[in-house]
Symmetry: D2
Subunit: 287 residues, 4 copies
């Protein structure tokens, strides 16, 4: 009995008549696939089409390589941005963290509980405080301190580590350093950050302090892809919780941690499950 | 230039290989349609497939009648439950109400603001209190008082009114009478009720009193299709809001009214836009 | 049997030892009151104390005038900002509205349902579209069109109307004109506006468009007191709802209307029940 | 300079005129205290009064023992249930857990981050799986397996452990065994459980399965004090999250875990901060 493999096809392109039929027919005729899930989205304003198809096939010839070659003519015809991801290929993930451990502890526990289909390859930090937690969960820990004068040198070390481990996704779990444009460009739409405010409110440093000063009645957190423009990348997920005058700054920060954990973990999971398409500084979430 | 019409095809059937391709190819080859939106859902446990396709066509031959005939063979082959709805056909809606007017006032204002693509054909009530509001918005109002001994007679009058106006959907906007099985069976999955609790908690009468007595920290409201089993029909939408010890019964009831308005109006809109599929006492919402 | 009257005492002042005892003892010894509710709040950072006491008394000598004189020495001693409000005195409210009627319709229905303890004295608009609704609910309607060259003249007419009707509170229910500093200063902390965003995100015009462009995953609405700085007054209430890629601009605007209705009506109710203290561009809500 | 200590006075009693003044005057005159926070609540229906006063004093004579004696006459006069808690006295907490570790991991991380003012004295489990986590955080772990025939014997061992460590609070962090009435009565209002549904919906076993079968649109979790009646104790906190047809059972369970963590941790924190008063199978939360 042939092995079944599942894969995810992600497409964005100009919206054109016949597009869905062409894609579906290709899949069925070429690889005798079974569609497990198909989601599509149109941006009517921009005339764009987005699709995510999760399918199963028993065809041993349906490999990453062969699929790429076979699908390319159709992709060219419809001017597609596209990719194919086979779910048996586990992605490699690196987590960057500084001194606050709540997001890291949460990610590690979720990974252990099986929520994330990935290898946690390494944890990088500019402090030592996360080392015991990393070691408890058996994830290699790399302490790379950052000083102003050695910043670019440290970043080179970080990039070398990522390259060495074939990292697919970098998760900034309250990593309090700003990445250089060089770093960001090396991992386009593959670096996820959590910002502790409801963006675009309170960009920049100390957003809880700013929220407290403004007297908002809800505080938020935002996970987003990192771009060269700080706190301006495509938003993946946001959530909020209610605060009142009883919440002085410490309690506001504590409530915020719950939000940070949730929006970051959702973003990581959706990314790993290939549920996010990003365009025009927005995201489409096929959740 | 030919007129464009849009239609919605709704399907549920056993999940089978080739299903999506067969449906898409039928639409494209037969009527040269343009898919505006396509959503599908699988219930893996039950092996069921659900689909909603919204499409546009300029083919003047694509009528309700011709489509039905043309699609039927495919539907038979895949054992589909299905229907086709043309969006130019406005549905006729009747609202039933008793003495609380907040849901009615909300529905009328939303209809006037263009949120509901339907004709509001009539308002039926067992009290006179809603008449001025109905008249203000120009909707025919029918006062049909209910006494225990004349209940079945009144229900016949109600059903006659609904038949006379070709009513497609009955909305119970805090209508405090129980409909007979005969009535319910005449409008399967076409009667929407709002229950003032987070079902299945607090079924039956006086749910706010029960919620208050139990000391819950959130109160809810639920919109659902009416079946012969009171408060047990397929749930369409639910929402909750936070309460505390500061909320005595009256404030709890007032907060609940906001929820009732919202879950009922969402259910009505989704039904009118043919976004709801119901099976196995659940709903699939293509929102 | 003497009549019982209830009153609300609102205080903010520097936090000092003995404050609560001094206030409570004054009330009990002077007017033999019964405390119905007492809430207090400290801002530890600023060293401020806030209190709301709702009390009942049968003492016929406890009048607005006599209370003011009797309490003043204590108030001076503790440097209090304070006021006393007797609940039998109904406040007079004016609603300003432009062309969107959803907030107005909602406020009128709530007032009719008894949610607001106030007189709705008048509705002012720069358009005629709200007139039928005002007349249906029996509220005097004043059409005062606004043209650039007559703006200050119209504002004088508005202020004259407010003065003539002894207006205590002005509610801007999607009123799309900016009030002059003169107007705002005439009603400090007595003008409530609803802004259709989660402030401070998306200040200024067309916030839904801005939210859509930024690709946020939640949209919000904010009710706040109006100050001379547009969209920067003390926030009273905020709420949000989830949006996705399926929400194009019109659906995002529609979802937002539900939020606007809710945050505005809560703010109005809290203000009328004397539950809001404002300081340092924030609000304390004794809800 | 004398040391400052802070304490919390919790009272519930029949509502009577003069109550607040009597309490406040006692505190001020006897111990020259400074009120840090005072919250009160009335249940108008039942004629009950609830109060929480957090105060600071430099009086070295204000000890648990002396306060108890000094306050008792007033307490008798007003028929109070009351207690005084000095914040320098850290409570001892035991966590019971079975095989799901997400709540335990969360509680341990929060404790480490300083969110809980308590000693985590021990972790008790009927499985070995939690041992590494307990040891990582340095909390003594006791493996007490449970078999039907040795159940009462094991429970005696558990109670002996709790007694030996002077445990003040037992937290059931997804502990899947039912406690006997004897156990429950030994720790009245001092055992907190998390139930993975929005109570009173889906009492009993497998609530996520029941919620899935009913087709609800929101799932919930509830933290509550344990009483002899399963899932019927006073509710402390509840929260919900949205689900859709895309959430099959595993994803529903995963989303639920986020709720469980949050409602349980809030309950534990509020209990430790003496913010909960329980009466008539409800709770008053002074948050």
């Amino acid at each position: 009995m042939p092995a079944t493999q599942t894969a995810i096809l992600l497409i964005d392109c100009p919206d054109r008549k016949g597009l869905v039929a062409a894609i579906v027919n290709f899949l069925v005729e070429r690889y005798d696939i079974n569609i497990l899930n198909a989601d599509q989205h149109q941006d009517a304003q921009l005339g764009l089409f987005f699709m995510r198809v999760e399918f199963a096939t028993e065809d041993p010839l349906c490999t990453q390589q062969s699929f790429r070659e076979a699908f390319e003519p159709l992709a060219l015809q419809f001017q597609m941005n596209w990719r194919i991801e086979f779910t048996e290929t586990k992605q490699n993930v690196a987590i960057f963290v500084s001194q606050y451990l709540h997001c890291l502890a949460d990610l590690l526990q979720r990974h252990q509980a099986g929520e994330f289909p990935c290898n946690l390859s390494l944890i990088v930090s500019n402090h030592e405080v996360a080392r015991p937690l990393a070691e408890f969960y058996g994830i290699p820990f790399h302490y790379l301190p950052i000083a102003p004068e050695t910043r670019s040198q440290t970043e080179s070390q970080q990039l070398a580590l990522l390259a060495e481990h074939n990292i697919d996704l970098v998760v900034l779990a309250r990593y309090m350093q700003i990445l250089s444009p060089t770093f960001v460009q090396a991992y386009p739409r593959r670096i996820i950050n959590v910002h502790h405010s409801f963006l675009p409110a309170f960009v920049g440093a100390r957003p809880y302090h700013a929220a407290f000063a403004r007297g908002v009645k809800l505080i938020g957190a935002t996970s987003h892809y990192v771009t060269e423009h700080l706190d301006e990348g495509p938003i993946i997920e946001q959530d909020v919780t209610r605060v009142s005058q009883n919440d002085q700054l410490p309690s506001l920060i504590q409530k915020g941690r719950d939000l940070e954990r949730i929006v970051l973990s959702r973003a990581v999971q959706w990314h790993l499950e290939h549920r996010i398409l990003s365009y025009s500084n927005k995201t489409v979430i096929f959740a």
